[in-house]
Symmetry: C2
């Protein structure tokens, strides 16, 4: 179960990094909830498409994972060049590095709940 | 090992909630590193004392834990009334709710590394 979640999660991240939005449904539950809001796969895809529009060179890099079924906790790292504002912060083409601490609740092999916190303070400190 | 980390972590949170700073050394490594900065126990205690000065009614509440040795990942919840600014946000006595996603790396039963991200966007949205 642990190794299955590990593999599923890494496949999900690879899916994001190749912008394979049609395959999102293979990893994300139809009724996925993100930070308390029911997005569904379509809303989740729209969120990711907005992220990539703001950060054309966005790549999700796993620093490390903590896995205990049904949860995956991920420490993610980003090293990227947002084009304009990012999370209402005027980044304007600067290269920035920041992290995200994010928890996922899996149900039947799919991501059902996401609790994400992005390190905005780190972004502000670089602008 | 899993249950030992669970117990140790919950004892650590109880220690914080009763402001038992003298007992911190029972949970925190002498060379603890917080978000990339070596604080040591004294620096870690000073950080917590600053937090409590800013938020007199601060209580750490565990929403859920994800445990895989040597890591503990914690989803923490706060419901509190900061007195002045909090993380440079003018909260000024409002009751606010926010979360923290935090990873801990344990070594020999003590917290050696902390990777913490606090949901500042949630705080800003309430001010």
């Amino acid at each position: 179960m642990r190794d299955e979640l590990d593999r599923r999660y890494r496949d999900y991240i690879a899916c994001l990094n190749r912008r394979d939005w049609d395959d999102l449904r293979l990893f994300v539950d139809a009724d996925v909830v993100h930070n308390g809001t029911v997005l569904g796969v379509a809303g989740y895809r729209a969120m990711l498409e907005r992220d990539v529009a703001a950060i054309p060179d966005l790549q999700f890099e796993i620093h490390f994972l903590v896995i205990e079924a049904p949860h995956v906790a991920a420490r993610l790292q980003f090293d990227c060049t947002p084009t304009g504002d990012l999370f209402s912060i005027p980044v304007d083409g600067r290269r920035i590095r920041f992290t995200e601490n994010v928890f996922y609740g899996f149900a039947e092999g799919l991501i059902r709940h996401v609790w994400s916190v992005i390190d905005l303070a780190a972004i502000r400190a670089q602008v």
